[in-house]
């Protein structure tokens, strides 16, 4: 059972529809009031219920804490079209859904969540049953035709978190095929999934950053996730 606390008084500061910040802690408006997704804290504030975005469980959540730019510049707007590669068990996806779609998809967003593992899809399917606008897809992130069949449009916002060897290529190809011009692409790089070249993690991160900017993406920010998620770097890119 989730912890629930707080009064009807609004808390923190509303940054955009569905997102509140109190200090550096982000809260999203619960699209399924009374239900938590991964044991996070629930809290009332105003007329809505809010879910705490745990930076230790979600790399995007950690990115929000660590970013030097404005928090909302990292996130998709309400009602936008989102593609999430490597959705896992739906921790981050649920918060994105709160922001992009909201309860009964009243914000009119679309969120396609792709993962390769049937075990993960089992959780995502349960999530999608109670959250319209979320479209789970059991597919390889490299198989574009399957994603395109469920997403006959370009996304405004793309997030990739696949821990496998060719993660940079997968990200670049996905951005080229699915991200609209001006759209934001976020990419969480797991150093341990890349081939070890003996030059250390720092050199690897630099190399990837150079590769991203050489491929025609505008690199907005590199966010170090150490402290929340070791050996990870979050790259924020804009499609030009």
């Amino acid at each position: 059972m989730a912890k629930r606390r707080g009064s009807r008084r609004p808390f923190g500061k509303e940054m955009m529809p569905g997102l509140r910040l109190q200090g550096r802690t982000a809260w999203t408006e619960n699209a399924t009031p009374g239900q938590d997704v991964y044991g996070e804290t629930l809290r009332r504030g105003g007329l809505e219920e809010w879910r705490r975005w745990d930076p230790r469980r979600s790399k995007l959540g950690a990115g929000l804490v660590r970013t030097e730019n404005e928090e909302i510049s990292l996130l998709p707007k309400a009602g936008s079209r989102v593609l999430y590669l490597g959705a896992g068990h739906g921790t981050t996806v649920s918060h994105l859904h709160d922001i992009v779609c909201g309860a009964d998809n009243h914000r009119g967003g679309r969120l396609v969540a792709v993962d390769l593992a049937p075990r993960c899809l089992r959780d995502l399917n349960h999530l999608a049953r109670s959250r319209p606008g979320l479209i789970p897809l059991l597919a390889d992130a490299r198989k574009h035709s399957m994603i395109a069949a469920l997403m006959p449009y370009r996304a405004d916002w793309l997030f990739q978190d696949v821990a496998q060897a060719s993660q940079v290529d997968i990200f670049l190809n996905a951005c080229e095929r699915f991200l609209r011009t001006g759209g934001l692409g976020l990419f969480s790089l797991k150093a341990a999934s890349e081939r070890w070249d003996g030059e250390g993690e720092r050199a690897l991160f630099d190399k990837v950053a150079t590769r991203l900017s050489e491929s025609g993406l505008e690199l907005v920010e590199n966010i170090e996730l150490a402290g929340f998620e070791e050996h990870h770097m979050l790259f924020v890119c804009r499609m030009v």
């Binding site: 049937p118 899809l121 995502l124 999608a128 897809l137 395109a148 069949a149 469920l150």
Partner: protein
């Protein structure tokens, strides 16, 4: 230059400036299963009947899925709410069907069966050795270690310590267990006995599944070893694609990486060592036999995975003859080498 853009329900012909020249919409009833069929079709690189009709009418058009960056900028018609809901429902069903299909995957079933039987075997062995120690505490003169497998049954069926001591022909101690202590011991014995029969049942299940999933490999190595190789290779398809040298040392990862990192001697065999042709051979030919057997196992697993001709008993006999040959040509340990 003209282009055809399509998704699951509509197809358009557009020109370089994004003007719509022609259009075909899906007029059929939007039932869940029909939408799933269409998503499946285009997801696997096919095109819809609408797009095909347009392609016949505009033979020199380039066909792309809607949203493809190669298409010129254009307005693609958006689905209305009813269509969108039908689509969402179909997409969810598609995903649920994919998850349900994973339940039929013998690789995953084998993995659970094998891990479960390993856990049960570990638990059973610990519990049995505790039972032996426990009994020996009360009946120090009984030779309980001699027949461990019968011990659990004897204790579970005996009514008192006295009864048990007669059964084991041992002397009764001066002070024995209290009633509840004795009952705990008996129920522990009952549990050990239950574990044994559960383990047998589980291994039968592995045999059945492995013989069905890996018929040739099971014939060559026996179903339990075949299942173990398949699970540690993460699936039949991956096992079939592994080189024979990897099959040879599957299960000896610790020794192998210690060899790579620290230069210790490389392992000669992994799980495959369990096969009596290797474990019952003298130490100086185990490497030779396991190299040969791994190569044959690799061939057999490929026959299973790529639906080739299944191995016959004669083939297995041929391999056995090879083992005999190796044994015959290397009867003595090589001079100067010691274990």
């Amino acid at each position: 230059m003209v282009w055809i853009a399509f998704d699951w329900r509509v197809a358009l012909v557009i020109d370089d400036k994004g003007r719509i020249l022609d259009e075909e919409s899906w007029s059929g009833k939007m039932s869940n299963s029909l939408i799933i069929d269409r998503l499946d079709l285009i997801g696997n690189g096919g095109i819809t009947t609408e797009a095909r009709r347009l392609e016949e009418r505009w033979p020199d058009a380039c066909v792309h899925m809607a949203g493809d960056p190669q298409l010129p900028a254009h307005e693609f018609p958006q689905p209305d709410e009813e269509m969108q809901n039908a689509f969402d429902e179909a997409a969810l069903s598609l995903s649920e069907a994919g998850v349900a299909k994973a339940a039929g995957d013998p690789d995953r079933r084998l993995e659970h069966l094998l891990s479960a039987s390993e856990e049960l075997r570990a638990a059973w062995l610990t519990m049995e050795s505790r039972l032996v120690e426990w009994t020996a505490l009360f009946l120090p003169t009984a030779r309980v270690e001699r027949d461990r497998s019968r011990l659990a049954r004897i204790i579970a069926e005996s009514t008192s310590l006295q009864n048990l001591s007669e059964e084991l022909s041992a002397q009764l101690p001066e002070s024995g267990p209290g009633d509840s202590e004795w009952n705990s011991m008996v129920s522990w014995a009952d549990m050990v006995r239950g574990c044994r029969s559960r383990l047998d049942r589980m291994e039968d299940a592995i045999r059945v599944l492995a013989t069905e999933h890996l018929p040739s490999l099971s014939k060559l190595l026996g179903p339990l070893l075949a299942a173990r190789l398949c699970v540690s290779a993460h699936g039949r398809m991956r096992l079939a694609r592994l080189p024979a040298g990897t099959v040879q040392i599957l299960g000896a990862e610790k020794a192998f990486f210690s060899h790579l990192h620290n230069g210790t001697p490389p392992p000669k065999h992994g799980h495959i060592f369990m096969h009596p042709w290797i474990s019952r051979s003298p130490w100086w030919i185990r490497g030779k036999v396991s190299r040969m057997l791994a190569a044959k196992a690799s061939v057999a697993s490929r026959c299973d995975a790529f639906s080739g001709q299944l191995w016959s008993d004669e083939k297995v006999t041929e391999v056995e003859q090879r083992v005999e040959e190796i044994r015959a040509t290397h009867q003595d340990p090589p001079p100067g080498k010691r274990r």
